[in-house]
């Protein structure tokens, strides 16, 4: 497999803005995504968009990033609270000898390969390198996507074990990157819950793919494999039965609803991005288990992700996912009857609302 693709061009923000408003739909989408990425990157770094005279000097061209190859870069953060402390294993390097470094290196190949089979060249579809940071912080009970790279904590060994040891977690975080470079769903309210939902979909689909599981073999749980002794047997989310993943003195009770009638309307969690995703997760589970299968359902959802937009809500997603099902039926990718199965799955969770 070849991953080399140069991505060292630079287009000024005002030009991207104009392109996003004019031209054919494909150009508009590409320009909109590029402009969003540039804006997000500037926000992350706390810098302003460069002024036109600066760009005309050619400085931007001279400082363009090096060519990228979808190569894996695994960094050992040595329990410091910063990223990219030490490059431990690059693409093609021999085993490093650290379990988390080598495990995450292997998982990244699985996830990269899965998206390649869907027709995608890395996170940005332009060969972006996969930067994975392990041993982040001390006893850090989390994993996240920071807009450019992934970070995995060791857990405390009691409540959570290492987040780097879960393919589900790695695929979930990398899928946040894919979403950033496609629909770029706002991380707030329903669009934010969709953002979380798509990451759960790919986390689960990739895990089932790797383990060669059928919909009946799969546990449809998220996070069960990183539970330490204190929470052993619990999970963080259930796609099959949202609201049942955990109930214990530490975490309380799983707040995810399984149906729109129980929709969370509160202000916390960016208005419920990790809570209301349960409704969409349940719909995916119902579609996958009603004859379609997880992998074909994931193809429909991936098709839809490329046609959604930052402020899309649940009803928008239902419309686009059903449209995607119809398109893929027409292309012979999924069988006749799939559109109706998907529509029924959403109806069973109260969507469209």
């Amino acid at each position: 497999m070849t991953f080399h693709k140069c991505n060292c061009h630079y287009i000024p923000p005002h030009v991207l803005g104009n392109m996003a408003k004019k031209g054919d739909p494909a150009v508009r989408q590409a320009a909109r995504t590029s402009a969003q990425q540039a804006k997000l990157s500037r926000e992350k770094r706390g810098v302003q968009a460069p002024k036109v005279p600066e760009m005309l000097t050619g400085i931007a061209m001279a400082t363009a990033p090096a060519p990228v190859t979808a190569a894996r870069e695994v960094y050992d953060c040595q329990n410091k609270w910063e990223l990219r402390v030490k490059l431990a294993r690059g693409e093609g390097d021999p085993e490093f000898g650290d379990d988390d470094v080598d495990t995450v290196y292997g998982y990244a190949e699985t996830v990269r390969g899965y998206f390649a089979e869907l027709g995608r060249n890395s996170i940005d579809n332009a060969g972006m390198n996969l930067r994975l940071n392990v041993h982040v912080g001390e006893n850090y009970m989390n994993a996240f996507w920071d807009g450019d790279e992934m970070a995995f904590g060791d857990g405390d060994g009691q409540i959570f074990t290492s987040f780097a040891q879960s393919l589900d977690v790695m695929a979930h975080e990398m899928a946040h990157g894919v979403t950033q470079f496609t629909a770029n769903l706002d991380y707030y309210s329903q669009s934010g819950a969709l953002n979380e939902h798509f990451s759960d979909v790919f986390g689960t689909a990739i895990t089932q793919y790797k383990l060669n599981q059928t919909v009946d073999d799969a546990d449809w749980l998220i996070g069960n494999e990183i539970m330490g002794p204190t929470l052993y047997g619990e999970a963080l989310r259930s796609m099959k039965a949202p609201g049942t993943a955990y109930d214990n003195p530490l975490l309380g009770k799983d707040p995810q609803p399984a149906h729109m009638k129980d929709y969370y309307n509160g202000p916390n969690d960016n208005r419920g991005v990790h809570i209301n995703s349960g409704i969409m997760n349940r719909a995916f589970y119902l579609a996958a288990t009603d004859q379609i299968g997880t992998q074909k359902a994931a193809k429909i959802w991936y098709h839809a992700l490329q046609n959604l937009w930052p402020t899309a809500d649940f009803d928008d997603a239902v419309e686009i996912i059903v449209e995607s099902a119809r398109t893929l039926v027409g292309d012979g990718v999924v069988p006749e009857g799939t559109t109706q199965t998907v529509r029924l799955a959403f109806k069973e969770v109260g969507l469209p609302s």
Binding site: E43, K44, W81, F144, G147, H176, S199
Partner: protein, 109 residues
């Protein structure tokens, strides 16, 4: 010194519906816990931060923990909002310790 701390979020969406809180007067803590916490506060430089350096906001980061932190007495108290990706590196050990203390308190019978 009075401290009020809350956190939620992360990959697990922990305490999503109700952030986990920790409220304490450092004078009431065991000596060892108090001394370590005060040292972390001092080393973090959090009390010297300007508001713009300590405000978590919308950005590309996903699944980070988000934190609210108030330190100090009465009108002199300072309040901050952070997340894992945007918090100044020097503040992260303090946030980690407060997170541990909040969890320990919740786990206590």
């Amino acid at each position: 010194m009075h401290i009020e701390f809350e956190f939620s979020g992360g990959y697990g969406g922990l305490f999503a519906a109700k952030p986990l809180g920790y409220r304490v007067e450092t004078d009431e803590l065991p000596d060892e816990v108090r001394d370590k916490l005060l040292a972390l506060i001092r080393d973090s430089g959090v009390l010297e931060l300007k508001p713009a350096q300590a405000t978590g906001g919308p950005g590309p980061q996903r699944d980070v923990f988000t934190y609210s932190l108030t330190i100090g007495e009465g009108a002199a108290a300072k309040s901050f909002a952070f997340d894992d990706a945007s918090a100044p590196p020097a503040v992260r050990p303090l946030l980690s310790r407060l997170r541990e203390l909040a969890v320990e308190q919740r786990m206590r019978p």
